[in-house]
């Protein structure tokens, strides 16, 4: 936490394929260290151990939704500044606005372009640290 360059990303999505695509894209092009999990609970369990610089979490997951995960992260004092990015398949404008309003760093829509994913995450990271 608090590092100047983005290195460690923790990623959660219940869809293994999308997890794989995102992981490979972030590792290969971004050169990040990526840890993946298939549920929000696992992500929360792994936070302290992995110490991510940034978290990407799917919105629509069966047990714990993205916003619930985000809320839980914010409840922990040691992670109250950790940037969280939503990954979502919703495309209704109102829903999107609602997601942005939860206070996350950004929202990335699925399907996404794997070739530019790392750049986008880097952009979000820089935008945050520049503030």
């Amino acid at each position: 936490m608090g590092s100047i360059t983005l290195q460690r990303i923790l990623l959660a999505d219940d869809e293994p394929d999308i997890l794989e695509i995102a992981r490979i894209a972030l590792e290969t092009v971004g050169g990040f260290e990526v840890s993946v999990c298939t549920s929000g609970e696992t992500l929360l369990d792994r936070l302290s151990e992995f110490e991510p610089d940034l978290v990407i979490v799917d919105v629509l997951m069966p047990d714990m939704t993205g916003p619930e995960v985000f809320e839980e992260i914010r409840r922990r004092p040691e992670f109250d500044e950790l940037p969280v990015v939503y990954l979502t398949g919703v495309i209704q404008e109102e829903e999107l606005n609602g997601l942005h309003e939860t206070g996350v760093a950004d929202v990335i829509l699925k399907p996404f372009d794997p070739m530019t994913l790392a750049d986008r995450i880097n952009g979000i990271w820089k935008g945050r640290n520049g503030r």
Partner: protein, 559 residues
């Protein structure tokens, strides 16, 4: 330099990895789709559960992200539409019927086919931009109808019927469940059951609750078991738009909803013909400030082409112009049958009342002395435009379906062709014909036949965009002009509509029946003129009929 080389190397590596993932995905997909179809089968009939349907929805939702991110654009698109269907089902109060079950299975099959054609085309990174685009275009929000109804069979029936016409429904069992924030978005109408066990009059009470939850101007449609004048008065006082007595005639409800959900009136269009640019500008600015669209022509010889293209509601014309006078121009305009009804308002510095009156004899409708102050110009022009539109509606629209008549749709098509030509744009024309319509009339009578014709008109209006032009060519033949649309997209849209139409139950004396339609699509610039487009669509329609009906074909495609 070093950084750039590294970047390129890592991009190449990612592309390789993605190729591997694509192959992997494609290999596993058939089994995955099969499993989803089985899951869907297990939900059929008594097996229906909201949880089961929700799980299936999540799987389909997941497929969209994966397929799309791997560049299977067509498949992702199809999956998105299926998802939409499932969401609607989940929002519905009751399990889907057999037709819907079959339809969903068809969607799964289509996804399989799409994945193969996606797999055959080389990966195109620009497809991601397109995805953002189809995200919005395919998701034009449908008209939402909120239904508050405690009597279940009625609600189920209504949901089923309205669903086929492309309405989205949200159901509530009790009015008290409908509170601020509980309705997913602003509805086009709220249908309320007013029947109360003790026969109380509750119209005003429920109307207040609806308005508290949804705002003032949501149209209210009441359904009640009381037909007495007291009850009806209560409803009118509550501000309802329509009142239906049980048992409800569903076609009447549809007609009402169709009316309530018609598009907002377009702004008035005024053609200004004046050789003095400053005066023209002054009038245009005053009108535009009031939300009226204007086009200015300073050379009277350009008037005819603008009439066709801009389709003005009113022509505001200077009397004294070089080349030809406004009066001469008015006579020319009036010789064209299509423009006999467009109001012409003359403008001049002429203050001689007698000369003004003479001008009216030449086909003018009014005479203003210019420059006209905005507070006079705007209301005067608006009133003319409004009346002109009402009159034109009677002249141009088919009384039964409310769609454009034959001659008018051809004009609209011609204007669309010119626009497409100038902008190097796209344009598709679809011709639809109801299969075996004569038999419907013979078997069930003309009144029922008319209901079928109207049903297709409602469906077209609900499912197509505001920018699409809909017409009834005569008999049971319909024409749809779709600007900015290529043949493939039109084909898909019309095929959706074909499917929807086939699922509609039409009521007749001896029970209900279903009808199908056939459709042919022609596209610009494969066909270059309105005549060629109609001919191309017609030829495709003919092949669709000959090839067994109930299908949509694109001109030039094999059967």
């Amino acid at each position: 330099m070093e950084g750039e080389r590294e970047r390129r190397a890592s991009a190449e590596q990612l592309e390789k990895e993605l190729e591997r993932l694509r192959a992997n995905f494609l290999e596993k997909l058939p089994a995955r789709l099969q499993a989803l179809v089985e899951e869907w089968h297990s939900l059929q009939g008594d097996g229906w559960s909201q949880d089961g349907a929700r799980a299936l929805h999540r799987s389909v939702h997941g497929l969209i992200g994966t397929a799309g991110s791997l560049g299977f654009a067509k498949m992702a698109k199809t999956a998105r539409r299926l998802e939409r269907r499932l969401v609607a089902l989940l929002e519905g109060a009751q399990p889907p019927n057999r037709n819907v079950f079959a339809e969903v299975i068809e969607w799964f099959e289509r996804m399989g086919e799409d994945s193969i054609s996606d797999g055959d085309t080389t990966f195109d990174p620009s497809s991601f931009e397109n995805m953002a685009e189809w995200g919005t275009t395919l998701f034009e929000p449908r008209n939402l109808i909120v239904v508050v109804e405690q009597e279940d069979p009625f609600a189920r029936e209504l949901a089923l019927r309205l669903g086929h016409f492309g309405f989205e429904l949200q159901m509530f069992k009790k009015i008290d469940e409908m509170v601020v924030g509980s309705v997913i978005r602003r509805p086009a109408a709220v249908i309320m059951d007013l029947s109360s066990p003790d026969g109380e009059l509750i119209g005003e009470e429920v109307a207040t609750k609806v308005r508290d939850a949804l705002g003032e101007d949501v149209p209210l449609v009441f359904v009640s078991n009381r037909s007495d004048i007291e009850a009806r008065l209560d409803a009118v006082r509550a501000g309802c738009s329509s009142y239906f007595i049980k048992p409800v005639n569903y076609s009447d409800v549809l007609e009402t909803l169709d009316r309530l959900t018609r598009s907002e009136p377009e702004p008035y269009r005024i053609l200004i013909v004046d050789d003095e640019p400053d005066t023209a500008d002054f009038h245009a600015t005053s009108l535009e400030a009031a939300g009226i669209e204007t086009v200015t022509v300073t050379d009277p010889l350009d008037v005819m082409s603008q009439l066709v293209e801009f389709q003005p509601d009113v022509i505001l014309m200077d009397v004294y112009m070089p080349g030809c006078t406004g009066l001469e121009m008015a006579m020319v305009i009036r010789q064209e049958e299509a423009f006999v009804g467009v109001p012409i308002v003359f403008l001049s510095r002429e203050t001689d009342r007698m000369k003004q009156i003479a001008a009216l004899g030449e086909g003018g409708d009014d005479f203003f002395t210019k420059p006209v102050p905005p507070d006079h110009l705007v209301p005067a022009v608006s009133a003319r435009a409004q009346r002109g539109r009402t009159l034109r509606l009677f002249m141009e629209k088919d009384g039964l379906t409310g769609l454009f008549r034959h001659s008018r749709i051809i004009e609209q098509l011609e204007a669309a062709v010119r626009r497409a030509d100038r902008q190097h744009g796209r344009l598709a024309v679809a011709m639809l014909d109801i299969d075996g319509f004569k038999e419907v009339n013979d078997e069930h009578g003309h009144l029922v036949g008319d209901q079928v014709l109207k049903a297709l008109a409602y469906l077209l209006r609900q499912r197509l965009r505001m920018s699409d032009v809909l017409g009834r060519f005569g008999g049971d033949e319909y024409v749809v002009v779709m600007p900015d649309t290529d043949g493939r997209a039109a084909l898909q849209k019309m095929d959706d509509i074909r499917r929807n139409f086939a699922a509609i139950d039409h009521e007749a004396v001896h029970g209900s029946f279903t009808v199908t339609l056939s459709c042919g699509v022609g596209e610009f610039p494969a066909a270059l003129t309105s005549h060629e487009l109609i001919a191309a669509a017609d030829e495709a329609l003919y092949r669709a009929k000959r090839g067994g009906r109930n299908q949509v074909l694109l001109a030039g495609d094999p059967d």
